[in-house]
């Protein structure tokens, strides 16, 4: 356990180095958020009927998305591991006395949590505290409606990070089968962004598609935690949310472990 913890801390510290890039990222994310918020406002203002989520909930959902997208959307596999696989240096990782899947999973976990500090916290601070001060209360991120909602969000968010890391692992391991990895690495993020609610909040999707969207693993990444935060989903549904996340985490980890095992057994280290 201590080995994994040291690895996590080391990776985490390394990833925290990219501060300037993160600052630029925060500004970019804010801009993006504003465009999304204005588009949603324009859609909401002319509609007389009630929608499955209020404009303010939708705005909160967008800001949470901007704050956490780098962290919890599995955009790509661990590029360094993929490079190791391509170059054959993965042989060193095979020699370590630790379980390969756990070893890589720890790295994925660090990859997903470092952006929380660098991008998540600044963006949350700006959208929760600064916006109301500068007269953008309508467009700010509101606090969760109750303490229970906040706790539910935190718990489901931990589930989301684990789920995202498990999915990251699938992408990383896909490199063992395709040499360039470009195919899966460019198609997968597109699927994740739409089905997780990153492009349009899932409650705004057509009613008929909701059972499918809710069942897919991707709704556990952003949609469910964010709805708990904004109050769109009541805290008493936390149990179902966690169950859904745990179910998918177990399945994806088992699949990932299987793929790593198969991959290693057929792995040919090229060159010397």
């Amino acid at each position: 356990m201590t080995a994994y913890w040291s690895l996590f801390v080391a990776r985490f510290a390394l990833l925290l180095q990219y501060r300037t890039a993160a600052l630029a990222g925060v500004a970019t994310q804010l801009f993006w958020g504003f465009v999304k918020v204005m588009v949603l406002e324009a859609f909401f203002t002319h509609v007389p009927t009630t929608q499955p989520m209020t404009l303010h909930e939708a705005i909160g959902y967008v800001w949470l998305g901007q704050a956490f997208l780098i962290a919890i959307v599995p955009w790509s596999g661990d590029r360094e591991i993929q490079e190791l696989i391509r170059s054959g240096a993965v042989g060193y990782d095979l020699l370590r006395p630790t379980d390969l899947y756990n070893f890589w999973f720890t790295r994925a976990l660090a990859l997903r949590t470092a952006p929380l500090i660098l991008r998540g916290i600044p963006l949350l601070t700006v959208t929760i505290f600064l916006f109301p001060i500068v007269g953008l209360r309508e467009r700010s991120l509101a606090f969760p409606p109750s303490f229970a909602a906040f706790v539910a969000f935190v718990l489901s968010f931990i589930g989301a990070i684990l789920l995202s890391s498990a999915l990251t692992m699938l992408l990383t391991v896909s490199m063992m089968w395709t040499v360039s990895g470009e195919g899966i690495n460019s198609i997968f993020p597109a699927i994740v962004t739409i089905f997780s609610g990153m492009i349009v909040p899932l409650p705004l999707f057509p009613e008929w598609s909701k059972p499918i969207l809710n069942a897919l693993p991707f709704s556990g990444l952003l949609d469910k935690p964010f709805r708990l935060f904004t109050g769109n989903l009541l805290p008493n549904s936390l149990f179902n949310v966690l169950l859904h996340q745990i179910f998918w985490i177990v399945i994806i980890v088992i699949l990932g472990r299987f793929l790593v095992k198969r991959g290693v057994s057929k792995l040919v280290i090229q060159g010397g």
Binding site: M38, S186, I191, F205, P206
Partner: protein
Amino acid sequence: MNNFLLYFRYISVSFKSQMQYKVSFLLQVLGQLLGTIIEFLGIWVLFSRFDTIGTWKLSEVALFYGLINISFAFADALGKGFDSFAKIIRNGDFDRLLLRPRTTVLQLLGTEFTLKRIGRFSQGIVVMAWSLSTLHIPFTLETLWLLGTSFIGGVALFVGIVIIQATLTFWTIESLEIMNILTYGGVETAQYPLSIYSKWFQRFFTFLIPLGCVSYFPMLAVLEKEDNFAVPLWFCYVSPIAGILFLIVALQLWKIGERYYCSTGS
């Protein structure tokens, strides 16, 4: 050999090299295509719930969407050399370009014509065609002029933006992610009519970065909506020129940057 011919030589070499790995190329095009299709799916989802955005229908918004995407895809394919300029500066490759008896702009534009952008481009064309046929917009000379100048102005504007982005590298050595606001952010913005946004935002994308001039205003004339927004008709016909003016300004900045350049020595 004149510059134009030379440019085509560059491009044909670049095409050949990109077609070397056909499967990888196809997968990338597919990935691009899927990415943009999903973007449009997002717009469709919102329309299926809300029906209209302000006074605009989906078929009208599709015109804005299609147009900005083909302009951007083309400019993005063209400007690859400027896009990876930070790397060129860092390994000192720029010194090599300076030694050659051609302008650096030509050489950088010729670095690579990124073919995989065809995914976004073709999707933009399809969406635009759908919009034009659903709205029964006749193919008159006026329409062709508006669409054509819009496209050219849009390409010029986006190429101008990547040139400015690259110019900044002369001072920072680092490429700045924040400039993505103007490229990808610009595309995202111009996928909807400018009138739905806040006033300050509209002004920013009209006067500072003339994105509205190359897409919003000419499309108002195509959709015959200029009266609703109190824009004189003649302005819709000439506004795309702003994109070309922007490119000219960008090229001037590039020249200034080049004079300032001193090698990193790598």
